[in-house]
């Protein structure tokens, strides 16, 4: 029989890393969404007629009824804040220098939400249900990425 160690200093452990590299294909719907975002500055969605549900970002298929969809429905740029949360830690749990606010925003005309930063908050506290609007990078700085969206800010007025 092997006795268990009682001195933690005697525990031996080997280090290891998994070097993982990947290239993710956004697909037909992803191309349409990111191209529309970069070139026209619009949020592109997909309508499922059967489900009466508008997805954003657009997608090739309905997850509710399995219908094939097209990317033809523009939504936003205004929207409603469905939830928000204020982050104080980074991915590994270390404190952030500055808190970061993220939110779920349902763009006008859509039934789905976008997960993104809430920026330029001003003095008013955030509230679920408040009006917000999308903030985009200037046209020349966009790269067809979700980061072409800077975030959402409380709507003026």
């Amino acid at each position: 029989m092997l006795d268990k160690l009682t001195d933690p200093a005697l525990v031996r452990r080997w280090g290891g890393e998994i070097p993982v590299r990947h290239r993710y294909t956004p697909g037909l719907a992803g191309e349409a969404f990111f191209t529309a975002l970069r070139d026209r500055g619009v949020l592109l969605g997909s309508r499922c007629e059967a489900c009466e549900y508008i997805y954003v970002p657009c997608r090739l298929f309905c997850e509710r009824c399995f219908a094939e969809l097209t990317a033809d429905t523009e939504v936003g740029p205004g929207g409603t804040l469905e939830s928000f949360a204020i982050g104080y830690v980074d991915v590994e749990g270390e404190p952030l220098d500055e808190p970061v606010t993220v939110g779920l925003v349902m763009p006008d005309g859509a039934d789905a939400v976008l997960f993104h930063f809430i920026v330029e908050q001003g003095e008013e506290p955030l509230e679920i249900g408040m009006r917000v609007e999308v903030v985009l990078r200037p046209p020349g700085e966009r790269t067809a990425s979700i980061l072409d969206i800077v975030g959402f800010q409380p709507a003026a007025g």
Partner: protein
């Protein structure tokens, strides 16, 4: 009604913040030894099939299922790995037995979380790589957003979540295997560091090392193996949408569907009338409340009263996480569902010691795979065949 399958043995190891010195294989061996001993079976002779539940990235090994047979006595035998919580393994075992493929099945899940050097990175890599990961925020954001949406919908408050933490950590004081027993005040919870407000540090279950092995047997064989078979009355599972964009926020609809599947098999119309004990996922404190509602054990409007009146305490009408839950026992990753099932088995056998709940005939265990997932499984267990 019954599935014709019973749990005839349970065993565990670890349940400690760090199990230093033991490899994950040795943790599994120890839990398996205990489970086989409890069931009175030998793996090389009596167990027909083995199911493990694990996730490669958490193990730090690609194709991890290759590394599980030897420490379970499963070499040269049918073994399969389910990439999911242990309750999905229980579902697989029930199907193996009901289909006649096996008469005795061992189900295993473990956590060697203390070996993981980059848990945050692994969780970040569970986020959609194109839409969500580029933001570079902690996946705890998903929990914070869900908590805020849940509290908004139900009118429940951060104080109610703090009551869950206090209850579960206190319940863990009566559980000798719990990793994080403590007398924590609700104020301490409220004052703990915000991680992703409204989610705070003490509302998040802390990780632990541990392993659970269950032995399941067919209805014909179970009474020969044990005097106290615990019957699987129903077992259900469901996934919601992986997409943060199109999932349901503020309620666990996937838990509801998993529960309805399990209750349907058990012939239970109104679980709140029948269930004597619930062990539910409390990876985050608010999740316990959200899951109770999804399990149809409470209406959202009743939850505040249930917490305040003590109904969910160990001596209450519906004890919830008498074990201490994940907040008290430790977050065991894919072994969480099996830990809750083991607690239900011990309670149904009357072997739960100081935390024994009186008159338990039907118990429910539920699992959730954590952020950012929407996968859940539910098992309904009973002392009678149903």
């Amino acid at each position: 009604m019954t599935s014709g399958v019973a749990i005839v043995g349970v065993g565990h190891s670890g349940f400690s913040p760090i199990v230093a010195g033991l490899s994950y294989k040795e943790l599994m061996f120890e839990a398996a030894q205990r489970a086989y001993d409890d069931a009175g079976v030998h793996p090389r002779r009596d167990v027909d099939s083995f199911v493990c539940c694990s996730e490669d990235f958490l193990e730090g090994t690609s194709i991890f299922d290759e590394y599980v047979p030897d420490q379970l006595g499963a070499v040269q035998r049918p073994v399969q790995t389910v990439s999911g919580d242990g309750l999905f393994g229980v579902a697989t075992a029930v199907m193996l037995i009901r289909s006649g493929v096996a008469r005795v099945v061992a189900v295993e899940a473990h956590s060697k979380a203390s070996d993981i050097g980059s848990l945050g990175g692994i969780e970040l890599f569970a986020m959609d790589p194109v839409l969500n990961r580029p933001l570079g925020v902690s996946p705890l954001a998903v929990a914070g957003l869900e908590m805020n949406a849940y509290l908004e919908r139900t009118g429940l408050t951060e104080e109610h979540c703090a009551m869950v933490v206090a209850k579960n950590r206190r319940n863990a004081l009566d559980n000798p295997r719990a990793a994080y027993p403590a007398d924590v005040g609700e104020r301490q919870v409220a004052e703990s560091s915000p991680l992703f407000w409204p989610l705070k540090e003490l509302e998040v279950a802390r990780r632990a090392d541990g392993c659970v092995v269950l032995v399941l047997a067919s209805g014909e064989l179970a009474p020969e193996l044990t005097e106290a078979p615990v019957w699987v009355l129903g077992c259900g599972w469901s996934s919601g949408s992986a997409s943060l964009e199109s999932r349901t926020w503020g309620e666990a609809d996937f838990v509801r569907r998993a529960a309805d599947m399990a209750y349907g098999q058990a012939g239970i119309d109104d679980p709140s009338e029948v269930v004597d004990l619930a062990e539910v996922d409390d990876t985050f404190a608010f999740k316990e409340l959200e899951h109770l509602e999804a399990l149809r054990l409470a209406q959202a409007g009743e939850i505040a009263e249930m917490l305040e009146s003590g109904e969910v305490e160990t001596d209450g009408e519906l004890p919830v996480n008498a074990s201490g839950g994940s907040l008290g026992q430790g977050h065991l990753f894919e072994a969480g569902g099996l830990a809750r099932t083991m607690e239900c088995v011990e309670q149904l056998r009357g072997e739960a010691g100081q935390r024994q709940v009186e008159a338990v005939d039907v118990a429910v265990a539920q699992s959730w795979r954590g952020v950012p997932t929407t996968s859940a499984a539910v098992v309904v267990l009973g002392t009678g065949e149903g």
